[in-house]
């Protein structure tokens, strides 16, 4: 087992364990922090694939910005145990849902295992920012621009929903 393999299993293991943590932790703060750890581990996996930019951006935007806001909101609400209890369901429901999730997981794992992934070898300069930038502004310019429109629109919508007074006086 090479160092690469060891690193892969470390990151993958962390990703899985912390992803489990997101789901099973009783405390939403733990869930959010586990999600941070998951994102970090996945960023590590990206690094192993030489996708440095992807790894860094993953940490920068997801762990560094989006999840900070998640944690912020959770802390701001500071839900008591009582309020958290309300959304919990009965044991039978839990058991059934867990079973369904496990079945779905096994099916998917089985399917992915059987699949022959068709992949091309990585292009020259893969993971490099300039290559990525060139691709974004040539082949993928329209999805990029539409994503820009999408984000602007969602931003405006979010502000609108958060505002107290939507109607004109």
């Amino acid at each position: 087992m090479s160092g690469f393999d060891i690193l892969f299993f470390v990151f993958a293991g962390f990703a899985l364990v912390s992803a489990m943590g997101v789901v099973v932790s009783p405390n939403p703060v733990y869930s959010a922090l586990s999600l941070v750890l998951t994102l970090f581990s996945v960023a590590g996996l990206f690094l192993l694939l030489q996708a440095e930019f992807l790894a860094v951006v993953q940490v920068l935007t997801y762990a560094g910005a989006i999840l900070v806001l998640f944690v912020f909101i959770i802390m701001l609400l500071n839900l008591s145990d009582f309020e958290l209890m309300e959304v919990r369901m009965g044991n039978l429901g839990k058991a059934l849902l867990t079973l369904a999730a496990v079945v779905a997981f096994i099916t998917l794992a089985f399917v992915v295992h059987l699949t022959r992934i068709t992949g091309d070898p990585a292009v020259e300069g893969f993971g490099d920012i300039s290559t990525l930038g060139r691709e974004i502004f040539t082949h993928y310019v329209i999805p990029f621009e539409i994503a820009g429109v999408l984000l602007t629109v969602s931003l405006i919508g979010a502000v609108m929903l958060a505002k107290k007074n939507l109607t004109k006086e």
Binding site: L114, T115, T118, I146, I156, G157, L161, L166
Partner: protein, 495 residues
């Protein structure tokens, strides 16, 4: 088949660019204090933008069909049709919003967001790339969430928005997982290249099938296909009525457009007007089952509804079922049929919602009982009742209305494809729907109204819109040649 580069593609993108510009202009117009006081300014700008969009779509429609932006977007007759469709839907919705009391006092962002969704519809219909599909779908979805929750001081609106977001997030999560499986198997995001891959590698791939099912979940969610329909009734009920009217037509049509384009382009092979499913994915039977489930559930649950918006929600689920038959039939007739059906659905559903808005404005109640005795409440009441009767007849699919012609085309396509069981069960479903559509007619003419004051439907423009839609229902029901010609030229997919 020509794949254009970005610069040449820009000409094809003119209509959509106008919409983006309109969106920005509306937002900027609302900034100065004294401009934002004028509540007609933003809708007027939105209308001008949409009209300009329509005009430019007629202009770009003359260009040769092409695949633009390095294979991201397809500009063919099908796309042109959905530009037209989106523009018309948006214009009617802008009008309805101006007339509805629920959204009478909205800020300029409301109109900007409507323009935004209108942009999403042709984008989605034209997408040839899984990435574009996802982005356009999200553009429509996110804007829909916001518009649904627009009246967030009312509890139902907020509840609807939250439910919509939760369902929507799950659906898009499932869908993007499915898309990633498809990408993993085929190694490409381009729908045309996916077909080419499937033709040259006909070995069975379970992952592809699962990925396809998951992708269908995303599409199905958008068009409220059973079993992904659960959000529809609550959302339709909670949203402001003009938004509901728009959601039931515009985004739904876009969902159908991409569902059909994806299935026809990526999963079938064109053999002279008959699209043969690729070997191991029996997409035809799959979609037939979904279609049957959707229309049956929609029709049977609609029987028990007492709220007009929930009623129309289940009715729209049922109609989604009919339109899904086109995805099962897989021939040019089916494409023509579904396009015709969409136009007829636009006319009759918008009409039904227009009357519903008038009734809600008048009574302040969304219950079906508000329709009671509508036919006996003065001239305006009689007018609304007659129009509503026509829309209900058309929704049922009886002659001489446009709904009948649409259904006729669809069922004939199904028979052409030799899926007889679906055709028979579909017709039976229409019979069931007659019961609940007729219930409204019965309420309007044979029941006593709570209060006998004349129906409040003031002004000139709103009644004339209702009359116009009603007239169109009948006119196109008798003289459908014009529409038929439009569907004939539009039912062409570039692949």
């Amino acid at each position: 088949m020509e794949i254009l580069n970005n610069q040449d593609s820009l000409w094809y993108f003119l209509p959509e660019s106008v919409l983006i510009l309109t969106f920005v202009v509306i937002l900027l117009f609302d900034l100065p204090e004294n401009w934002s006081k004028n509540r007609l300014l933003a809708p007027i700008v939105a209308t001008i933008g949409t009209v300009l969009f329509l005009a430019l779509s007629f202009y770009t429609q003359q260009f040769p069909e092409a695949i633009t932006f390095h294979g991201m977007i397809i500009n063919d007759a099908f796309t042109d049709f959905f530009r037209l469709f989106a523009g018309l839907t948006a214009l009617i919705t802008i009008f309805l919003s101006l007339k509805s009391k629920e959204v009478a006092q909205v800020r300029a962002e409301y109109w900007a967001l409507l323009v935004g969704i209108t942009l999403g519809i042709p984008m989605l219909a034209a997408s040839n790339n899984l990435l574009m599909i996802y982005l356009a779908l999200e553009l429509i979805s996110i804007l829909s969430y916001i518009l649904v929750g627009y009246l967030h001081n009312t509890k139902t609106s907020s509840e609807a928005a939250v439910k919509y977001v939760l369902y929507g997030a799950t659906a898009s999560g499932v869908m993007i997982y499915g898309l990633s499986l498809i990408f993993g198997v085929t190694g490409t995001l381009n729908a045309i290249e996916i077909r080419q891959f499937l033709i040259s590698n006909p070995a069975e791939q379970l992952a592809l099938f699962i990925g396809l099912l998951m992708t269908l979940a995303g599409f199905g969610y958008k068009i409220s296909m059973v079993p992904f329909h659960m959000w529809a009734p609550d959302v339709y009920q909670g949203a402001p009525t003009p938004v509901t009217a728009f959601l039931s037509v515009g985004p739904k049509a876009a969902g159908f457009a991409i569902l059909l384009r994806f299935i026809y382009t990526a999963l079938t092979q064109d053999q002279g007007g008959v699209y043969v499913p690729l070997k191991y994915i029996d997409i035809s039977t799959l979609m037939a089952v979904f279609a049957l489930a959707t229309m049956t559930l929609g029709n049977f649950v609609a029987l028990q509804q007492t709220n007009i918006k929930r009623f129309l929600a289940y009715s729209s689920i049922a109609h989604a079922g009919y339109m899904l038959m086109a995805a099962a039939a897989l021939n040019t007739e089916a494409l023509r049929g579904v396009i015709f059906y969409m136009i007829s659905y636009l006319i009759m559903n918008m009409g039904a919602f227009a009357v519903a808005i008038a009734v809600i404005n008048d009574s302040g109640s969304e219950e079906l009982s508000a329709f009671k005795g509508l036919g006996n409440r003065g001239r305006k009441g009689a007018l609304a009742a007659v129009a509503m009767t026509l829309f209900m007849v058309s929704l049922t699919g009886l002659p001489p209305t446009v709904g009948f012609v649409g259904k006729f085309y669809l069922f004939s396509a199904v028979i052409e494809a030799k899926i007889y069981w679906l055709a028979v069960l579909g017709v039976l479903n229409s019979v069931v729907s007659l019961y609940y559509y007729a219930k409204i007619i019965k309420y309007m003419y044979f029941e006593e109204a709570k209060e006998q004051k004349p129906f409040a439907l003031t002004g000139f423009s709103f009644p004339s819109l209702i009359v116009g839609l009603a007239a169109a229902t009948v006119f196109f029901g008798i003289f459908w040649n014009a529409l038929s010609y439009l569907t004939e030229i539009s039912a062409h997919l570039l692949m």
